[in-house]
């Protein structure tokens, strides 16, 4: 979708690990730890491919496969360095009424749940028309 609307759409990803998913929080922290080494989106994609295998050893293995500095990654992960930032995202989402994932806001208009591409296309086209 971003390629289709090249230059006209920006995506902001926000962490919203659900409390019912015990391994979600470490996975979100791990992605941010990968981001420290400039590989946030690569790691993000791996997590979606490999879910729900998010035990610590899995998370470290994914980092190694992406050629990240293992020691630095483990220090970040074990120290829960990104925890506060993830929790800040959670708080922001809750304040906006987010109760389930994924929840999207297209120029402020909510789209709740996994939606077909056509739904996103319609929402984006509508937002583009409104922005003119």
């Amino acid at each position: 979708m971003l390629k289709e609307y090249d230059g006209r759409v920006r995506l902001i990803y926000k962490d919203f690990p659900l409390p019912s998913h015990a391994l979600a929080m470490p996975a979100h922290e791990a992605a941010r730890c990968a981001g420290e080494q400039g590989r946030y989106w690569a790691y993000h994609d791996v997590l979606f491919e490999r879910q729900p295998r998010f035990e610590r050893d899995d998370l470290v293995a994914y980092a190694i496969n992406l050629n990240l500095d293992r020691e630095r990654f483990e220090r970040c992960l074990d120290g829960h360095k990104p925890r506060a930032a993830v929790e800040a995202d959670l708080a922001e989402g809750r304040a906006l009424g987010v109760r389930s994932t994924p929840t999207f806001f297209v120029n402020g208009k909510p789209l709740v749940g996994a939606q077909p591409v056509e739904t996103f296309r319609a929402a984006i086209d509508s937002a583009l028309r409104a922005a003119r």
Binding site: Y13, K14, G97, N107, A130
Partner: protein, 73 residues
């Protein structure tokens, strides 16, 4: 500052020199969220999202911004 009808952006440099976007979603988000069944954000308290550039794709000048709240598991 960059602005659009529904989203305005403000840029700041953090103490660790990490560029952070502060996004004021404004009244439009509250109204839209309310209309779609999401709870409207509390006035003034939750209408700004702090976003790290590493978690953003696409140009800051894009007329459409999609904010995704998601869970990996």
């Amino acid at each position: 500052m960059v602005s659009s009808p529904v989203v305005s952006l403000r840029f700041a440099i953090s103490p660790v020199s990490r560029r952070v976007y502060t996004i004021a979603l404004g009244l439009s988000l509250g109204v839209a969220a309310f209309g779609m069944g999401c709870r409207a954000p509390a006035p003034g308290a939750h209408d700004r999202l702090a976003v790290q550039t590493q978690m953003v794709k696409g140009p800051a000048t894009a007329p459409v911004t999609i904010v995704e709240f998601s869970d990996y598991q």
